[in-house]
């Protein structure tokens, strides 16, 4: 396989944005992250186009083709956004952070496997979707099998899609956590890579470690069940041994135990990144959070309460999900809000005490955090048992899912702005960076509020006929704000494309002033 730097260099347009500066001697922490981040943005473009298709087909009278296109775009948009875009972006930026903060290289077979499995898996799933598999991003088991029985798609596309999903799951549950654990606990730190030393207790690192263990532990049951089913589909596992795994209740519960904790793990990682990056932009140069113990407590509360809050996905299954467990999920979900409240205080107190340098990267991070709290409010409300019975299955849930993914992506994109000069030897166009933040604010908040309002009005999610209940007005606004968000992402891309080279003394000055804290 060609080196990641070579691959990036050969990709038109996107390659220019993420070309690694080989003169810095930091290729061992830059190359694979650059490739992962670049590829994640390609998937963002795909997800964005599919996102626009969904409302557009609602406006056009396409007959039976309309629902077909809608549900295809729905499945592709959700899958592309959540996994090869947000998760891969997180992995790329996160590993770069880990490498530069622990002096560990990102080389060898594991990063290569992460990249190959995530993207090959996503490609296989995309092909399956284009061949007719319409199962939304949460699989909706046993819909894949029922779809075959009802003639909606073939068993071959189910096998293809499940194979793709398996590769993506292996990346998220096994490969990425192993890479993080390896970098955290094994190997000697290389001084030339150690740009900003941090201990594992540092709030800026702790979330990454927590996330790795959460993914590993919460994901193993799903891997076991999914592997058993896939083994049966490939004829490796006899039918007599697959019955327990094929039960919808088994699959659904192990799926959401992982899927919910995947989102929480990504939140832990990104909040950690915020804790690490914010202090580097304080006006008085102190480079310290208001209180590190408080920041750590927030992460621990978020971790412990999120583990069993997944029950909120099954509140409306009463009494098959007993009311006590439903209420437990309710309380734990609000518990994650306690962790967020501590994060809010830590961040605001830090800014209040030390002042702020409003660079575009930091403003993107803070906007992402604001959106994360908006999403948090919508999430705790819908996880309340009383409200869940009215909101579950409506556009409220889609608004919540979209907002949490967009907010986390926005925080990572802000962190990327901070890391970008070290990876590429170039500085972003700050005017465009500020424009990106402003457009994002309008697009993200607008889309979120409209989707929540649509849900409050009873607009169903994953629904190919918005006109049925008079919901086209909400659909129109979703399209408008979605397009604004799309323009914002284009501006972000251009801000990277038009970045200017910095080298030598200017690069070294950036390492110090830009908060990396080291002189090379």
């Amino acid at each position: 396989m060609a080196s990641p730097t070579t691959i990036v260099g050969n990709i038109p347009f996107f390659g220019r944005m993420f070309a690694v500066d080989q003169s810095t001697g930091l290729e061992d922490i830059n190359a694979w992250p650059a490739l992962m981040i670049m590829t994640s943005f390609i998937w963002l473009a795909v997800a964005g186009l599919l996102g626009v298709v969904m409302p557009l087909v609602q406006f056009l009278d396409l007959g039976p083709l309309g629902p077909n296109l809608y549900y295809t775009a729905l499945t592709g948009h959700g899958a592309a956004l959540a996994f090869p875009f947000v998760f891969q972006l997180m992995v790329g930026v996160g590993l770069h952070r880990m490498g530069s903060c622990r002096g560990q290289s990102i080389t060898g077979p594991i990063p290569a496997l992460i990249y190959i499995f995530m993207n090959a898996g996503s490609l296989l799933l995309t092909v399956a979707i284009l061949l007719g598999l319409k199962i939304s991003l949460v699989v909706m088991y046993p819909l894949p099998v029922v779809g075959v029985q009802t003639g909606q798609w073939s068993m071959n596309v189910v096998i293809l899609g499940f194979t793709g999903i398996a590769l993506v799951l292996i990346t998220m549950i096994i490969l990425y956590p192993i890479q993080v654990i390896k970098m955290a606990f094994f190997g000697k730190a290389r001084q030339e890579l150690l740009l900003s030393p941090r201990s594992l207790q540092d709030p800026g690192m702790l979330g990454m470690l927590m996330a790795a263990f959460v993914l590993l532990i919460a994901g193993i049951p799903l891997l076991i069940v999914a592997s058993t089913i896939l083994g049966f589909l490939y004829g490796i596992v006899p039918g007599a041994l697959v019955g327990w795994a094929a039960k919808p209740v088994v699959f659904q519960f192990v799926f959401f135990i992982f899927a919910h904790n995947l989102m929480e793990a990504m939140a832990l990682m990104v909040i950690s990144a915020v804790y690490a990056t914010l202090p580097l932009y304080l006006a008085d140069g102190t480079r310290k959070l208001y209180s590190e113990p408080l920041a750590r407590i927030a992460l621990w509360i978020l971790l412990l309460t999120s583990l069993t809050s997944f029950f909120h996905h099954f509140i409306t299954l009463f009494p098959n999900l007993p009311a006590a467990l439903a209420y437990h999920g309710n309380i734990m979900s609000f518990g994650t809000g306690i962790g967020s409240a501590l994060s809010i205080f830590t961040i605001l107190a830090t800014i209040w005490k030390h002042g702020l340098r409003p660079a575009p990267g930091l403003m993107a991070i803070l906007l992402g955090f604001v959106l994360y709290i908006l999403d948090g409010a919508s999430a705790v409300v819908t996880s309340n048992v009383a409200w869940s019975f009215q909101l579950h299955g409506t556009m409220w849930q889609s608004g919540h899912t979209m907002t949490v993914l967009v907010s986390m992506a926005l925080m990572w994109m802000g962190v990327l702005y901070h890391h970008y000069p070290v990876m590429t030897g170039r500085q972003i166009d700050e005017q465009l960076g500020n424009l990106f933040v402003k457009l994002c604010a309008v697009g993200c908040v607008g889309a979120a509020v409209v989707m929540l309002a649509g849900g409050a009005a009873g607009m169903p999610r994953r629904f190919a006929d918005w006109g049925q209940g008079g919901w086209m007005g909400y659909g129109t606004l979703i399209l408008i704000f979605g397009l604004i968000l799309g323009v914002a992402y284009v501006v972000y891309a251009v801000s990277l494309y038009r970045s200017r080279e910095i080298a030598g003394a200017e690069f070294n000055k950036l390492l110090v002033d830009g908060g990396w804290g080291t002189v090379r």
Binding site: T316, F334, G355, L374, F389, Q390, T394, F463, G469
Partner: protein, 195 residues
């Protein structure tokens, strides 16, 4: 006011705005006030510890209050309360499949087997194939409740809902179930009692 808050999607929206807008105002104020290219620090941070305690106390009060008050509005609690007078509850059994509902009501009223009387109704639903839901919309278009129907379970999903107004109520599936998911709907007609 509480009925509107907990029994209406817009009440949920109001709660989100209640939680978010004060945060947004304070957050934007702090960031705007403290953003400067030249650097500034506020040495008067001794009061932050008090602010921290007040803030967390406020959050806890709101969170606990919202959840405790919501208990009486939970369909699970309302179902348990209604079950005390089981004899007066009308039973409606539902089997959902792709893409239809098989609904059986206790008696045929006005020639329709989709009709119930004003009062408590126990909806018990199962799925015959994939994930479905059974959601009832009021004549005004508000979601009254939704039930998740998962295939393969021994017992049905079940709640008791008390209708207090006659009218035509729309039934929709809110769990994506395939290419014709959006057309999976039915009707329930609620009539005044003594039929």
């Amino acid at each position: 006011m509480l009925d509107f808050l907990y029994l209406n999607g817009w009440g949920a929206m109001l709660m989100v705005l209640f939680l978010f807008i004060p945060f947004l105002i304070i957050f934007v104020y702090v960031v705007y006030k403290k953003s400067t290219g030249q650097g500034s620090a506020d040495s008067a941070s001794s009061g932050l510890s008090t602010v921290e305690w007040v803030w967390m106390a406020l959050v806890l009060v709101v969170f606990v209050g919202v959840n405790v008050i919501s208990i009486s509005y939970m369909p699970t609690v309302q179902t348990a309360r209604a079950a005390v007078d089981e004899a007066n509850i009308q039973q409606v059994n539902i089997t959902a499949g792709s893409w239809f509902y098989d609904i059986s009501t206790p008696k045929v009223i006005n020639g329709s087997n989709r009709t119930v009387e004003v009062g408590p109704v126990r909806f018990s639903g199962k799925s015959s194939d994939t994930m479905h839901s059974f959601a009832i919309y009021s004549p005004d278009g508000d979601v009254l409740f939704t039930m998740m129907l998962m295939p393969g379970l021994k017992g049905p999903t079940s709640i008791v809902y008390t209708f207090d107004k006659p009218g035509t109520y729309t039934v929709r599936c809110l769990e994506y179930c395939g290419i014709n998911h959006h057309n999976m709907r039915d009707q329930l007609i609620v009539v005044a009692g003594n039929n």
